[in-house]
């Protein structure tokens, strides 16, 4: 505080940038991801389940953290509007009215908070399901897919929160960091496609390839400079390596803690990390190379991202079955099956590249043009 000669107190505190709640929301999404990989490994290597396990605690506390951070920002924004104070749209994005004008919610926090609340409600749905069907740890049960979709929603909201602050370095890094979290979790969500017949192609591989390409092109379309897709893919590879060590370690340490033995004949290959495409960096290089050429020749980046997405997804679709064969030798991919899967992945990749680039641009428009940014 500074006391001026006229006696008027002038605040010299730095203006709020929104970094704290954004990073707390990111912490929540990371907690959820840690809980997810730990839980999958627990079921693979140890087995017995109740609702009250440590991995479940991570999953639920992750959503609780995101939910609390989102709720606090929405309440503070609402209080600021009621008091007539200016609202900075760089904190979470454009403000939207909820329940009439009862609440003023920055769009990013509205989405992340809604995702977190949905996760907690779907926890009850999952608990009811387990009460009826038992605790068979199938990942693709309806409540599990609902829970995964809810965490996706909370992560999408967190990406938007950081994207709204894209003029800050932490905003850009945080958006890419949350995309890394989303990309690591997306192959598990793709397991929901096991419900689709897999006689002529592998729908899970198609889903993994398309979602990976979509998220990489979101990163490229958001950053709009070389390295967005590659940096995100490198972040995913780093997290994949960490989880490759962490997931079995955590599952086995927890089993020791509660005096439970490991299953007989467990695999040395961890569950969630083995689902993440190892060819992701190669796919990102394809995207980066085509964007580089397009920029040099002044081609439309939006159109090039369609072709680039198709090629990158074709690469992922063909490599993914071989990754499974390498890790789990009992899988022996048939050439025609791999080619059909790769071709269909490539077709969906065209859509992923198209939508991803557009989504990246949409993220940059979360904050109104500067003259409108301060909304009284």
């Amino acid at each position: 505080m500074d006391l001026t000669a006229s006696g008027v107190r002038v605040s010299t505190a730095a203006p709020r940038t929104g970094a704290l709640p954004a990073n707390i929301a990111l912490l929540g999404t990371v907690l959820s991801l840690v809980g997810l990989t730990w839980d999958i490994q627990w079921h693979d290597d140890v087995g017995p389940d109740t609702f009250f396990t440590l991995p479940h605690l991570f999953l639920y506390s992750g959503s609780a953290v995101v939910g609390i951070a989102s709720l606090v920002v929405v309440l503070m924004t609402t209080a600021a509007r009621r008091a007539g104070r200016p609202i900075d749209a760089r904190i979470g994005g454009r403000v939207v009215n909820v329940f009439g004008k009862t609440f003023a919610a920055p769009l990013g926090y509205l989405v992340s908070g809604a995702g977190a609340a949905t996760f907690l409600v779907y926890g009850l749905w999952d608990q009811w399901w387990h009460g009826l069907y038992g605790f068979d740890a199938v990942i693709d049960s309806p409540p599990h897919i609902g829970l995964l979709l809810a965490t996706t929603l909370q992560s999408v909201g967190t990406v938007a929160v950081f994207a709204a602050a894209h003029e800050h370095r932490w905003g850009r890094i945080g958006a890419l960091g949350t995309l890394v979290v989303l990309l690591c979790a997306s192959p598990v969500l793709a397991l929901g496609l096991q419900q689709v017949p897999d006689d002529i192609l592998d729908p899970v591989t198609v889903g993994v390839a398309m979602s990976s390409v979509l998220l990489l092109t979101v990163a490229a379309g958001f950053i709009r400079r070389p390295g967005g897709a590659l940096g995100t893919a490198a972040g995913v590879a780093a997290l994949q390596a960490v989880f490759w060590w962490f997931s079995p370690w955590a599952a086995h340490a927890y089993a020791d803690l509660v005096s439970l033995p490991l299953r007989d004949k467990i695999s040395n290959v961890p569950g969630l990390p083995s689902l993440i495409p190892m060819a992701l960096i190669a796919a990102a290089l394809v995207l980066e190379a085509l964007f580089f050429v397009a920029q040099r020749r002044n081609w439309s980046l939006g159109r090039v991202s369609v072709v680039a997405g198709g090629l990158a997804a074709l690469l992922l679709g063909i490599c993914q079955p071989f990754q499974q064969e390498m890790l789990f030798p009992r899988f022996t991919p048939d050439t025609a099956y791999v080619l059909i899967t790769g071709a269909v992945a490539g077709l969906f990749g065209l859509l992923g590249g198209f939508a991803g680039w557009r989504f990246g641009g949409m993220l940059r428009l979360l904050v109104p043009a500067r003259k409108e940014a301060v909304d009284a």
Binding site: D49, Y133, G146, P261, G361
Partner: protein, 181 residues
């Protein structure tokens, strides 16, 4: 800022400190058994729930006469339509380590299932099958309704994207840089 961080850490501490996870797991209670003869080996197949219903999980135990010591084997589960997960080794039940078993496993479809066993032991190799294992219709609401409930977040996400797409369409057409970049 410091107060906010302290409050956040306090909440996290309370959450993890007081929500100690339970470490008591239910015992394996067998309520029904079937006998299978696999060559020279008699095998008792136990079920923790009877009758079986599709998607409803239970514990299975596989107990060769004389115990599992010195024996090994495989199990192949075949669905009513002839599909299945392939051959898997017989492993100890994680909550009843003196017998082989499957913990909280469900059979997904109604109909007659087959369990095929290969047992290796001091008397050589024996094979046997448990045929006509009847699984009744699934309990609970139809799967269509369950999936409809579970895909609501996806529908919300699609609606959000469509709205955002329409509002930003004019500024992003052609893939160029947005106006605020």
């Amino acid at each position: 800022m410091r107060k906010t961080l302290l409050a956040f850490l306090a909440v996290a501490g309370l959450l993890f400190g007081f929500a100690a996870p339970a470490n008591a797991y239910e015992p394996v209670n067998i309520v029904h058994t079937e006998r299978v003869q696999a060559g020279p080996y008699g095998l008792t197949v136990g079920f923790s729930v009877w009758p079986l219903r599709a998607m409803q999980s239970l514990d299975f135990t596989f107990i060769p006469d004389g115990g599992i010591a010195g024996k090994s084997g495989t199990l192949q589960i075949t669905s009513p339509t002839g599909g299945g997960r392939g051959v898997q080794p017989l492993v100890r039940h994680p909550r009843k380590l003196d017998v082989w078993g499957l913990d909280v496993r469900s059979l997904q479809a109604p109909g007659d299932w087959t369990f095929s066993f290969v047992i290796n032991g001091p008397a050589g190799t024996g094979t046997g099958q448990l045929r006509g294992l009847q699984v009744l219709q699934q309990p609970g609401p139809p799967m269509g309704l369950s999936w409809a409930i579970s895909t609501l977040p996806l529908i919300a996400l699609v609606v959000l994207i469509v709205l955002a797409w329409r509002r930003t369409r004019s500024r992003l057409r052609g893939g160029g840089l947005p106006a605020t970049a």
